[in-house]
C-alpha cells in the first residue's frame, strides 16, 4: 500500500515532470509529432507560428505540405529510412510557409518504438535557423558577385576596341548564368537609325531567339522613353507595367518575356544605350542588392562601350578631316590638273581630226595612220592615269596598306604636280636612291603627305628670286627605315615655330588653315614613322619623313 502510494506519488511526479519538460520545450523549440504513416498528429504553437498554418490545417496532413522544393527526393528518402529503422535523424530542412515564404529549420527527429520494435511515432524537435541561413547565403552571394564583378572588370582592362564586343557578350553570359536569368540584351543609339538598336545579346541556348535586327523604334515607346530619360526600371511580371506600356506588354508577351530589369548606359553624362536582363522561363523578383550589383555591371560595360564609341567617332572625324584635306589639296592643284588632262586630250583630238581629214582626201599611208593611232592610244592612257591618280587621292575608300616603293610614290606625285611647278616657275630636282627597300603603307596617304610638303615648298618660295627657286626631293635608306627629304629655298621656318609646326592650326602662311602638316604627322605616325622639320643653313626649310621597313615603330627624332 505504502509502496503503491509511493508509486502513485512517483507517477504523479513523473507526469508532472514530463508536463514541465514539455512546457519548457514548447517555449524553446518547434515541435511536431508524426505517426508511422507520416501524418502529423501534434504541432506546438511555435510550429504553427513559423509555418503560418493553423493547427487544424496541419493535423492529419503529411510534411509534404511544407515542401519547399529545395531538397531532392533522395534527401527525404534517406531521412525516412533513418527514422523508420529506429535511428535519430539530425539535419537542416528548408520549408515553405503557407504564405509562400521560405524558412530553414535545424531538426532532430527521434523515433519512438512500440513493443515490437517498430516506430510508434516520430517526435521532431526543431529550431528556426532562417536568419543564419540567409546571412550565410547572402554572404556567399556577395562573395560570388564580387568575384563575378572582378572577373567582368578584368575582362575590360586595357581591351583593344576590336575585342570589346566579345568581352561584352562574355560579361552578359556570366551574368545570365550567375543570376539565373534567361537573356541579356544590349541596346545602343546609332546615327543610322532612330531608336535603340540591339547590338549584343546572350541568352541560354534553349530559349526562344529574339527576332533578328530587333529595334525599339516604334515598338517599345515606353521603354525607349524610360531609357533615354536615364531611368532604370524593372518588373517582376507583365502585370506591373503601366497602361502606357501596352505596346511593350504585347511585344514581351510575344517574346515570352516574364520579368525584366533595364539599366541605361551613360557616357559623358549622355545616355547612349541600355543593358537589359530578362527572365523568360519564370517570373522573378528583383532584390535591391541585386539591382545595385547589376547597375555596377552596366557601368563597367557602359564605360568600355562608351570608350569604343568615342574612339570610333574620333576615327571617323579624322578620316573625314583627312578627306576634306585631300579635297582642299585638290583645289590647290586643280589648275595644274586641268593642264595635265587638257594636254593629252588636245593631242588626241588634233590627231583624230587630222586622220579624218587625211582619210577624206585619201592622202595617207597605212604607216602614217598607224602612227597617229598609236599616239592617240598613248595620250589616252596618259589622261586616264591622271584621272586614276586623282581618284585615288580624293576617293574616300579605306586606306589599305600595301608594299610601296617611295621612289615610285615620289615619281607619281611629281608627274601629277608637273604643271604646278611650271606655274610657280621652279625647278624640281629629284634624287632617287637606287634599290630602295619597300615599306608597308597606304599609298594615297603617303602621296598626300608628299603633295602637302611640296605645296608648302612652292608657297614658301613665292618671294624667292626665280633663279634660286629649286626644290630638291631625295629618297634614301637607313638601317630599318626609308626616308624622303624635301629641301626648299624659301623663307624658312622661324626657330620658335619649329617645335609646334606639326600641331593643328599652326600656320606660317597667311590664310593657311594650318591643318596640312598636322595631318601629315598623323599619317606618318599612323605608319609608325616620324616626320620632322628643320631650318637649312643658307635659308630655306627641310622636311623629312621616315618609315620603317620592318613594320616596327621608329624611335623619336634623333
Amino acid at each position: 500500500m505504502v509502496k503503491m502510494q509511493r508509486t502513485g506519488e512517483t507517477l504523479q511526479g513523473v507526469a508532472k515532470e514530463a508536463a514541465d519538460l514539455k512546457a519548457a520545450m514548447d517555449e524553446h523549440a518547434i515541435v511536431a509529432i508524426t505517426d508511422p504513416d507520416g501524418r502529423i498528429t501534434f504541432v506546438n504553437d511555435k510550429f504553427c507560428a513559423l509555418s503560418k498554418y493553423a493547427r487544424e490545417e496541419l493535423l492529419g496532413q503529411d510534411h509534404r505540405i511544407l515542401n519547399s522544393g529545395h531538397h531532392s527526393k533522395s534527401f527525404f528518402r534517406k531521412l525516412w529510412r533513418t527514422i523508420a529503422d529506429g535511428n535519430v535523424w539530425h539535419g537542416e530542412i528548408k520549408n515553405r510557409a503557407k504564405d509562400g515564404a521560405f524558412y530553414w529549420i535545424a531538426a532532430t527527429i527521434v523515433p519512438f518504438l512500440n513493443k515490437r520494435g517498430r516506430p510508434r511515432q516520430f517526435v521532431a524537435i526543431e529550431a528556426d535557423i532562417t536568419e543564419q541561413k540567409q546571412a550565410k547565403e547572402e554572404l556567399a552571394d556577395k562573395l560570388r558577385l564580387q568575384g563575378l564583378l572582378a572577373a567582368i572588370s578584368s575582362l575590360f582592362v586595357a581591351l583593344p576596341n576590336d575585342r570589346v564586343d566579345s568581352a561584352v557578350e562574355g560579361a552578359q553570359r556570366r551574368i545570365v548564368e550567375a543570376f539565373h536569368f534567361d537573356r541579356s540584351t544590349l541596346w545602343q543609339l546609332t546615327e543610322e537609325k532612330p531608336g535603340l538598336v540591339l547590338t549584343h545579346c546572350w541568352q541560354r541556348p534553349d530559349r526562344p531567339a529574339l527576332p533578328a535586327n530587333f529595334e525599339t523604334a516604334g515598338m517599345l515607346p515606353w521603354v525607349e522613353a524610360k531609357i533615354l530619360g536615364g531611368k532604370s526600371f524593372c518588373f517582376s511580371s507583365l502585370d506591373e507595367l503601366p497602361k502606357q506600356a501596352a505596346p511593350e506588354v504585347e511585344v514581351y508577351r510575344a517574346q515570352g518575356v516574364k520579368s525584366n530589369l533595364t539599366i541605361p548606359l551613360i557616357a559623358n553624362g549622355e545616355v547612349f544605350g541600355a543593358l537589359a536582363f530578362f527572365a523568360v522561363a519564370t517570373e522573378r523578383i528583383w532584390r535591391k542588392g541585386e539591382i545595385a550589383e547589376l547597375k555596377l555591371v552596366a557601368q563597367i560595360v557602359g564605360n568600355a562601350i562608351g570608350r569604343q564609341r568615342a574612339e570610333l567617332r574620333e576615327e571617323q572625324l579624322r578620316n573625314e578631316l583627312a578627306h576634306t584635306m585631300r579635297v582642299a589639296t585638290l583645289g590647290e592643284i586643280s589648275t595644274a590638273l586641268a593642264h595635265e588632262l587638257n594636254q593629252p586630250l588636245a593631242a588626241i583630238l588634233s590627231n583624230a581630226q587630222a586622220a579624218r581629214r587625211f582619210l577624206a582626201s585619201g592622202g595617207i599611208t597605212d604607216a602614217e595612220l598607224g602612227a597617229i593611232l598609236a599616239d592617240i592610244v598613248r595620250d589616252n592612257k596618259r589622261a586616264a592615269s591622271v584621272i586614276h591618280n586623282l581618284h585615288a587621292m580624293v576617293g574616300k575608300q579605306p586606306t589599305a596598306r600595301e608594299s610601296c616603293c617611295l621612289n615610285e610614290l615620289v615619281r607619281e606625285v611629281l608627274e601629277l604636280m608637273h604643271g604646278e611647278f611650271m606655274e610657280a616657275n621652279l625647278e624640281v630636282r629629284p634624287i632617287y636612291a637606287p634599290a630602295l627597300p619597300r615599306t608597308l603603307a597606304a599609298r594615297v596617304e603617303l602621296q598626300q603627305v608628299i603633295v602637302n610638303l611640296l605645296i608648302n615648298a612652292i608657297q614658301a618660295m613665292v618671294e624667292t628670286p626665280v633663279e634660286c627657286r629649286t626644290v630638291t626631293i631625295e629618297t634614301f635608306a637607313e638601317v630599318g627605315s626609308v626616308t624622303v627629304r624635301i629641301h626648299d629655298k624659301g623663307h624658312g621656318i622661324p626657330p620658335e615655330r619649329l617645335a609646334t609646326i606639326f600641331a593643328p592650326f599652326v600656320s606660317t602662311k597667311q590664310g593657311g588653315l594650318g591643318m596640312g602638316l598636322s595631318i601629315c604627322r598623323r599619317i606618318i605616325e599612323n605608319h609608325h614613322g616620324r616626320i620632322e622639320a628643320c631650318v637649312r643653313e643658307g635659308g630655306g626649310a627641310t622636311f623629312r619623313f621616315s618609315l620603317p621597313t620592318n613594320g616596327r615603330e621608329l624611335g623619336g627624332i634623333k
Binding site: L349, N351, I372
Partner: protein, 125 residues
C-alpha cells in the same frame, strides 16, 4: 602656207603638225620660244601656233618680241591652262586668236586662214 608650231609638249607638236599637213599646210615644230627665235623662219604667208606656258620665255611674250624684231607673223595661242587673266594678256600682246586646249580642227584652221588673210589684207606699213 607655212605653220610654225611652238609647244614644249612633243605630242601636241606632232598632232598639230599632222593637222596642218591634212589641210595642205607645211608645219615646222619647236619646243620653246627660244628655239623658234633662233631658227631662221620666213615670215611670208606663215603664222605661229604657240603654247602659253613653257619653260623659259613665255609664249605670251612672243608677239611683242616678233614685233620689236620687225617681223610680221600672226600668233595664235592654244593653252591647256585657260584663265581670264591669260586670255586678257594674250589679247593685249596682240594675239591673232586664242584657244583653250583641246581645240577643234575647224576652229584652228579657220583662225589660221583668217590670220593669214588678215595679214595679206592689211600689210604692215
Amino acid at each position: 602656207m607655212q605653220v610654225y608650231i611652238v609647244d614644249d609638249e612633243p605630242s601636241i607638236c606632232t598632232a598639230y603638225a599632222r593637222l596642218a599637213r591634212s589641210a595642205k599646210m607645211e608645219p615646222r615644230t619647236f619646243a620653246s620660244v627660244e628655239e623658234f627665235l633662233r631658227a631662221e623662219c620666213t615670215d611670208d604667208n606663215a603664222c605661229v601656233i604657240s603654247d602659253v606656258r613653257m619653260p623659259g620665255i613665255s609664249g605670251l611674250e612672243l608677239p611683242g618680241l616678233l614685233r620689236r624684231a620687225g617681223r610680221h607673223l600672226p600668233v595664235i595661242f592654244t593653252t591647256a591652262h585657260d584663265t581670264a587673266e591669260t586670255r586678257e594678256i594674250a589679247q593685249q600682246a596682240g594675239a591673232a586668236a586664242y584657244f583653250q586646249k583641246p581645240v577643234d580642227d575647224q576652229a584652228l584652221l579657220d583662225a589660221i586662214a583668217w590670220a593669214l588673210g588678215n595679214r595679206s589684207n592689211h600689210p604692215e606699213s
